[in-house]
């Protein structure tokens, strides 16, 4: 400790940031504070968190309120945006940069360093070693050794010092950089995330069928101009048969630039539309605030003898079945029709789960029958008199809910992810392997001494050396 006195402050700080101990402390800080962040719901209604506190610690409402007040002051109710959490991330990045800078020169030298022949007694001390005695003269088996080493993936060099011949080869010295690639990738991802925060936005857009918008909305209704216009041509939900579980939501979108259609694409969850850096994600859907007000029900009315006509209807509209005197009068609309135990109809959800229209039918002005026609139940389309009214579609009644995002950083984040995957692969599944094969001449035979080392995954190297030995022995048998 005493010899550190003459170091200046800069060095001291550098040393702290170059230390793995600091890294571990920062891991712990980020992890522990994040745990709090998963218990206290972030950016939530205070009442919710008071409930959480009272459930967890049995606090009364008032005590919960004051505890939450303290947590709020400390930033825990929106901690991922708090100054101290950003500080942790900054320290983390600084640690990573300085630590890598501190070590990189040494590692770089190691990577650049070429393998050299070693004295034979060094080989004895290596962690992986083996030997085999072959008949013949060194000159005669050199070729075999080169061939065998090549077939286990090394390109051997030869040296001859005095009498002893040695082959040596290495493989994957650059894999020592894997760790630094992983560390760099983390910085790239952080940079991409920061870029996204400053240059991008997250917004949403609820766009009713048939309508066009040139803006999206952020929290509290702040408008974000898109730079072009987006129109929703159609929206549909498909359900799994006989369930209320949606199978797909799909919106047909058209992009307009200066009034001209430039792009059309249907989007579903997991398959967004991208235009000029802005991405539209299918995320929800809902009923137009005006209900059927602006929209139409599309039906196909057909008579017994096959005359048919497609019609667009609104509540209050009258229509006639072609070729007959039967007239329908649309009285009511429900987005989600169900019946209670008395058989009385009611609307059970705000979503378009089970759309239906109520129609009165009359023949030559005489009231005949009336009932609900349901889009999802074709049985209800057949009328008692053999005519048929098919409920084909609805239009202009629903809106499609989209996440709208512009994030120029996401490309960088993805790039960082790819680099990280490469770095991790290099670090954990590859290694710097070195092999030395020394030939010592004996009476009528040559003793081949093999030594090898690897900076990790020694077991794989051991297997290769074993294979090398078997190859050499096989040569021997085959040759004589």
């Amino acid at each position: 400790m005493t010899e550190k006195k003459n170091k200046n402050i800069f060095d001291a700080i550098w040393d702290i940031f170059a230390s793995v101990k600091t890294a571990v402390v920062i891991f712990a800080l980020i992890s522990l504070s994040s745990i709090v962040g998963t218990i206290i719901e972030q950016q939530a209604d205070p009442e919710k968190n008071i409930k959480v506190l009272s459930k967890m610690f049995g606090l009364s409402h008032d005590a919960g309120h004051s505890v939450l007040g303290v947590l709020d002051k400390l930033g825990f109710t929106d901690m991922y945006h708090s100054w101290w959490f950003l500080m942790f991330l900054l320290l983390f990045a600084a640690n990573l940069i300085i630590c890598s800078l501190d070590r990189l020169p040494r590692v770089w030298k190691l990577v650049q360093e070429k393998i050299r022949p070693v004295p034979a007694d060094y080989i004895e001390k290596m962690s992986v070693k083996s030997s085999v005695t072959l008949k013949g003269k060194p000159a005669g088996i050199k070729e075999k050794i080169v061939a065998a080493m090549t077939s286990i993936g090394f390109r051997p060099l030869e040296s001859a010092e005095g009498q002893a011949v040695q082959f040596y080869a290495e493989h994957g010295n650059y894999t020592r950089l894997g760790v630094y690639i992983v560390h760099l990738s983390i910085l790239i991802i952080l940079a991409g995330a920061i870029l996204g925060i400053f240059l991008g936005y997250n917004a949403f857009l609820n766009l009713p069928e048939g309508e066009t918008s040139s803006v999206a909305y952020q929290d509290r209704g702040v408008e974000v101009p898109l730079g072009f216009e987006l129109r929703c041509d159609n929206f549909e939900v498909e359900y799994y048969p006989n369930t209320e579980t949606p199978k797909t939501y799909k919106s047909w979108l058209t992009v307009l630039k200066n009034g001209k259609e430039v792009m059309s694409k249907p989007i579903v969850v997991n398959d967004p539309l991208k235009f000029e850096g802005v991405t539209f994600y299918q995320s929800s859907f809902g009923l137009h605030p005006d209900g059927l007000g602006k929209g139409v029900v599309i039906v196909k009315a057909s008579s017994k003898d096959g005359k048919a006509e497609q019609l667009n209807l609104k509540v209050g509209d009258k229509f006639s079945i072609p070729g007959t005197a039967v007239e329908g009068h649309v009285r009511d609309f429900s987005p989600a029709l169900s019946f209670d135990e008395n058989g009385k109809a009611f609307t059970f959800a705000e979503q378009m789960v089970n759309p239906a229209i109520f129609v009165d039918f009359s023949d030559k002005g005489v009231q005949k029958y009336s009932g609900w026609l349901l889009k999802r139940f074709p049985k209800t389309w057949d009328l008692p008199d053999g005519n048929r009214v098919e409920f084909l579609d609805l239009w202009g009644v629903q809106y499609t809910g989209m996440q709208v995002r512009k994030d120029p950083g996401v490309v960088i984040v993805y790039l960082g992810c790819i680099i990280m995957a490469v770095g991790l692969y290099m670090t954990f599944f590859m290694s710097h392997r070195r092999v030395w094969v020394s030939l010592a001449e004996e009476k009528n035979s040559v003793k081949v001494i093999i030594g090898a080392s690897a900076n990790r995954n020694r077991a794989t190297l051991e297997r290769r050396v074993e294979k090398l030995v078997t190859l050499l022995q096989a040569e021997q048998k085959g040759g004589k």
Binding site: I39, A193, K247, V269, N270, Q403, V413, Y414, A421
Partner: protein, 361 residues
């Protein structure tokens, strides 16, 4: 439900294998070991068949392509897949290290996990996929996460065994750490077992089960006497483990399991698990979220806990590089890492979602 037959069969074989491995430990007859391995392989093949059949059933029901229909969409299926990975990893280790003693530690986990499914009556039905889940990224994400979890489970048991073997004095920090960890672990498992037993008696609807009922029969009971008793029982259990922990050490050391081998296994399983988790658990998860919701990272509790888990294992990898941090401290980090895994997988769904209102799937 053709698959359920093979699942049932696999569960039974894992139980039989568990008993055989334990008797192998006790009697050390190589014949018993051979039978244990054979039975485990039979169970594994049967479970693989069951997985494939369920895959086919799912593809048929959901009317989707094969790729989309991998049965990994709910708690039940993911637990089953976890067990499958665990047995696969175990068989590889047994084959590579030529040591069957670990079987006595791994097969109980597999058998208990499968029994837990049956006891819990958790929904085994094949449910059609809601739109957000229809993604190939999600599939790769879940599959790789579970492979990594299985590897982490191995590092947890070898890490714990390392601590057991290397702690001699009852007042050492490492001894206290492993006894308390094991005590809490066993107590939690027992409490969950109790939940399921009492839950069966209470005849509640299956959907309510795990979320609202967890620890209701013990630590979160209505009656404060039961709560007090549960904590006392946990403390008692921990004390018993602490008192007789030396016995466990003797058993393990008598089976040719050296601390170097345990250390090596702990490191190796994390060295393989970490990159798989990083790529599958974090990166693919982020890509999926990006495509489905338009945000690759939202700090939601599940994501945050995955990140915490990731930091734990980064801690493990780096702690080996610090002076004075060889051996027991590092093993303790591996043990804590897996506790973070369990929390990421179960705790977030079961505890935090009960605490918050988002619940849902």
């Amino acid at each position: 439900m053709k698959s359920s037959f093979f699942f049932g069969f696999a569960t039974i074989t894992y139980f039989v294998a568990m008993m055989l491995y334990i008797s192998y430990l006790a009697f050390r007859k190589s014949g018993i070991g051979m039978v244990a391995t054979t039975i485990t392989i039979v169970g594994f093949v049967s479970q693989s068949l069951a997985l494939l059949l369920r895959w086919a059933e799912f593809a048929e029901l959901g009317q989707m392509g094969w790729l989309r229909a991998v049965p990994l969409t709910n708690l039940y299926e993911s637990l089953v897949f976890f067990v499958w990975c665990l047995i696969a990893v175990y068989l590889i280790i047994e084959f590579k290290y030529k040591n069957k003693s670990f079987g006595a530690f791994i097969t109980p986990v597999a058998a208990l996990a499968l029994a837990f499914i049956d006891l819990s009556g958790m929904s085994k039905n094949i449910q059609p996929l809601v739109p957000a889940l229809q993604s190939n990224w999600l599939l790769a994400h879940v599959m790789m996460s579970f492979i990594a979890y299985a590897l982490f489970a191995v590092s947890f048991s070898t890490g714990l065994m390392y601590l057991i073997v290397r702690s001699e004095e009852k007042n050492e920090a490492s001894y206290i750490f492993w006894t308390v960890t094991l005590g809490i672990f066993v107590a939690t498992l027992a409490a969950m077992g109790l939940d399921f037993l009492t839950f069966k008696v209470a005849f509640m609807g299956k959907q309510e089960l795990i979320k609202s009922y967890l620890f209701k029969a013990s630590f979160r009971s209505e009656s404060s006497a039961v709560v007090a008793f549960s904590y006392a029982a946990t403390a008692g259990l921990t004390f018993v483990i602490w008192r007789f922990g030396g016995l466990l050490r003797k058993i393990i050391t008598s089976f040719n399991i050296s601390s170097e081998m345990l250390d090596d296994l702990t490191y190796k399983s994390i060295a393989i698990g970490f990159p798989i988790f990083t790529l599958g658990g974090l990166i693919f998860g982020a890509i999926w979220a990006d495509q489905a919701w338009g945000k690759y990272w939202t700090w939601d509790p599940k994501e945050t806990w995955s990140l915490i888990t990731w930091f734990m294992y980064a801690f493990f990898l780096h702690s080996r590089l610090m002076r004075g941090w060889k051996g027991r401290k590092v093993a303790a980090v591996a043990v804590l890492g897996f506790i973070a895994v369990i929390f990421t997988y179960l705790g977030v769904n079961l505890l935090l979602s009960g605490l918050h209102s988002y619940g849902g799937q």
